[in-house]
């Protein structure tokens, strides 16, 4: 198990390094090739040549790309100093640089967006796990029944509905037509838990609906496959009650693949639910990402992408470890 753990850890670190390299390369090289200068993005087009050169020196934009990348990594691990003549700004680790637009440090900026994204992702995850897995299991157990067909039709519709459409549609219905919920305006949990809950309700349901549909389909397929296995027949043949057969034997192996998918989906969402956040005006990482992209704010784009990749890699790692515990065969692979 320890060797397995170490192998997975090394893998995760390598993946993260590659992600930083690729992301850095794309965001600092492509603009150069297509002829837009990061220094100009930072200071604005009207600046005189001297101040542009100053920015270049300060941001290290004149260095070779690999040196820039090295400094960026150093900033992530140990913090970094930006020197412009006599005046030195220290950016503590993990340093992601400064926003081109607001000149704020990127790390605290993104950290302040994290609670919104966390609220959205975790709440939705709880909902879709309950909805998706339970309907999927029921569907599999009552295969061919009306319930099964209704659930599967709903699930197929669910996977075909884009979240930006269901989001607009549900707020048109529940906020503006029926008036059951207030227009979206995020309230932090610590300020007022009740209002936070009411505000998050629609985003949670909208986002969870999409995932629940996928999970219901997956769970049903996995359960059906498991229920057809020989050991289930054996369990029934030796006289175990249906509850034990399903509850103890079928669910365990029928639901293991769900663990993998769940970890990855949650990891991906924690890096910012770009579409949902923008539809519901939630100022999380996904919202920040889009603002940064629209404003060509390279350091912020780089930062969000890195955080997203970080969550995905960590989720992958956790999934692998959990899997190693649930299914001992994996450790040998």
């Amino acid at each position: 198990m320890l060797a397995y753990l170490i192998r997975r850890l090394i893998n995760a670190v390598i993946t993260l390094l590659v992600v930083t390299l690729v992301t850095f390369g794309i965001f600092f090289m492509v603009p150069k090739i297509t002829g837009s200068d990061p220094a100009l993005l930072y200071i604005g087009k009207t600046a005189d040549a001297a101040s542009i050169e100053g920015i270049r020196v300060k941001m290290g934009l004149n260095d070779p790309v690999l040196v820039q990348y090295g400094k960026f990594l150093q900033g992530l691990v140990a913090g970094r100093d930006y020197a412009n003549g006599p005046d030195v700004t220290h950016c503590p680790a993990p340093c992601l640089g400064y926003s081109f637009k607001t000149e704020q440090e990127v790390t605290p900026l993104l950290l302040s967006d994290l609670p919104v994204t966390l609220s959205l992702a975790i709440g939705a995850a709880v909902l879709w796990l309950i909805m998706g897995v339970s309907t999927g299991v029921i569907s599999a157990l009552r295969r061919g029944s009306i319930v099964d067909r209704a659930v599967m039709t709903g699930a197929l519709a669910g996977v075909s509905l884009p979240v930006y459409f269901t989001g607009l549609l549900s707020s048109a219905i529940f906020v503006y037509w029926l008036g059951w919920l207030p227009p979206s305006n995020y309230v932090p949990f610590l300020e007022s838990p009740a209002e936070w809950f009411v505000q998050m309700l629609l985003p949670w349901i909208t986002l969870a609906f999409l995932f629940a549909a996928t999970y219901a389909r997956l769970t049903r397929a996995n359960m059906l496959e498991t229920l057809g296995e020989d050991y289930i027949r054996t369990a029934r043949a030796k006289g175990l009650g249906e509850r034990t057969v399903i509850g103890k034997h079928a669910l365990r192996s029928g639901l293991t693949p769900i663990v993998t998918i769940f970890g990855l989906d949650l990891g991906a969402l924690l890096g910012g639910a770009v579409l949902t956040e923008n539809v519901f005006n939630l100022r999380g990482l996904g919202y920040q990402a889009l603002q940064a992209i629209r404003g060509n704010d390279l350091p912020v784009i780089l930062g969000v992408t890195l955080i997203a990749a970080f969550f995905i890699v960590i989720a992958n790692l956790i999934v692998d470890l959990v899997y190693g515990v649930i299914d001992p065969r994996v450790r040998l692979g």
Binding site: L156, F165, L218, G272, L275, L290
Partner: protein, 335 residues
């Protein structure tokens, strides 16, 4: 190492005994042998839902191709303003339900009064072009890399598999958004619409290939050890021949199924990117762009939001239904 949303789903809609039911009564003439293709085709034809999906898909393709003609016959040019249809105080259509009338079949756009019907048709053109071409890109890349990884094995396999795992464990939407937004808006003499279509096809196609690649690799791995490959090799066939003449025909079914199933995903991604404002640039029509335009006015004029949304839904659903049916008919697991 994520599974694609569809990768492990095997709906057991078509029960195996469906084929047994084909055994004719004794009065009929002797049973003729059927190729796998014929069996699959029969199964597919009997699957009403899949056929329904296919009909809708074909209809949409025809509509997209005929968009210029249909616009001339039933609509107005896509960039023609009709301010007379708009209430100047609110910027919303004067007539109810988004201004739907016999003249404007699907209503008019808020503020500008452009014809929604024509813009939906041209949006279909964009959406389907991007979805099909990027599926094509994904398939080519997926087959080339997947088959090489599975067939050659060794370090080629480890490198390709590692790259696929890496791409699948990547903030894809975020990355597509960022990538699409740093790429230039016009190049090689193409205007905004076509250069963006090329960029979208490239980016969506590129991020889609690992899904196909993994399946092709897995299939190639298991086929490689089969007797007919060994027989071909013992008769002196070289690798290219084995790959293209022996293995590829056997991979056709899964490739076809997963290419079909990747199309609806591509439609959703294109619409998402256009919704976020980094896809097809205005004033060119796109379904995602229309939804994004509707954000400001959907509270008082929901029709303009519902129409492009419903189009995306219908299109994606039709492709999913058809793809599911195709998989049930062709999936090697069901054989």
């Amino acid at each position: 190492m994520s599974l694609g949303p569809e990768a492990s789903v095997t709906d057991d809609k078509s029960a195996p005994d469906a084929d047994a039911a084909e055994v004719r009564g004794p009065a009929e003439k002797a049973i003729a042998g059927r190729s796998l293709k014929q069996i699959a085709w029969r199964r597919l034809k009997r699957d009403k839902v899949a056929v329904g999906g296919a009909v809708v898909v074909l209809f949409l393709i025809v509509v997209a191709i005929l968009a210029p003609l249909l616009t001339k016959l039933f609509g107005h040019p896509i960039d023609e303003y009709h301010i007379d249809q708009i209430d100047q105080t609110f910027g919303t259509p004067i007539k109810p339900f988004g201004g739907i009338s016999s003249d404007f079949l699907l209503g008019v756009e808020p503020t500008s009064g452009r014809d929604v019907f024509s813009r939906i048709l041209y949006g279909a053109q964009t959406s389907l072009t991007v979805a099909f071409l990027s599926a094509f890109v994904s398939t080519i890349l997926g087959v080339v890399f997947g088959a090489s990884a599975g067939y050659l094995g060794g370090w080629v396999d480890s490198v390709i598999s590692r790259v696929m795992d890496f791409l699948l464990a990547f903030p894809q939407l975020l990355f597509s958004i960022a990538l699409v937004s740093v790429l230039p808006y016009s190049f090689l003499g193409m205007d905004g619409r076509w250069s963006r279509i090329v960029v979208l096809v490239g980016v969506i196609g590129f991020f889609g290939w690992p899904y196909i690649g993994r399946i092709v690799r897995g299939q190639t791995l298991s086929l490689r050890e089969r007797e007919f490959v060994e027989a071909a090799r013992s008769m002196g066939a070289r690798s290219p021949r084995i790959l293209f003449r022996e293995l590829l025909p056997n991979l056709a079914a899964p490739i076809l199924v997963y290419t079909t199933l990747i199309i609806p995903t591509n439609i959703l991604t294109e619409a998402a990117l256009s919704f976020l404002g980094v896809g097809i640039p205005p004033p060119n029509p796109s379904w995602g762009g229309m939804l994004s335009d509707a954000v400001g006015t959907y509270q008082i004029n929901p029709t303009y939001m519902i129409i492009p949304g419903a189009m995306i839904f219908i299109t994606v659903l039709a492709f999913n239904l058809f793809g599911d049916g195709l998989r049930d008919a062709l999936d090697p697991k069901a054989r």
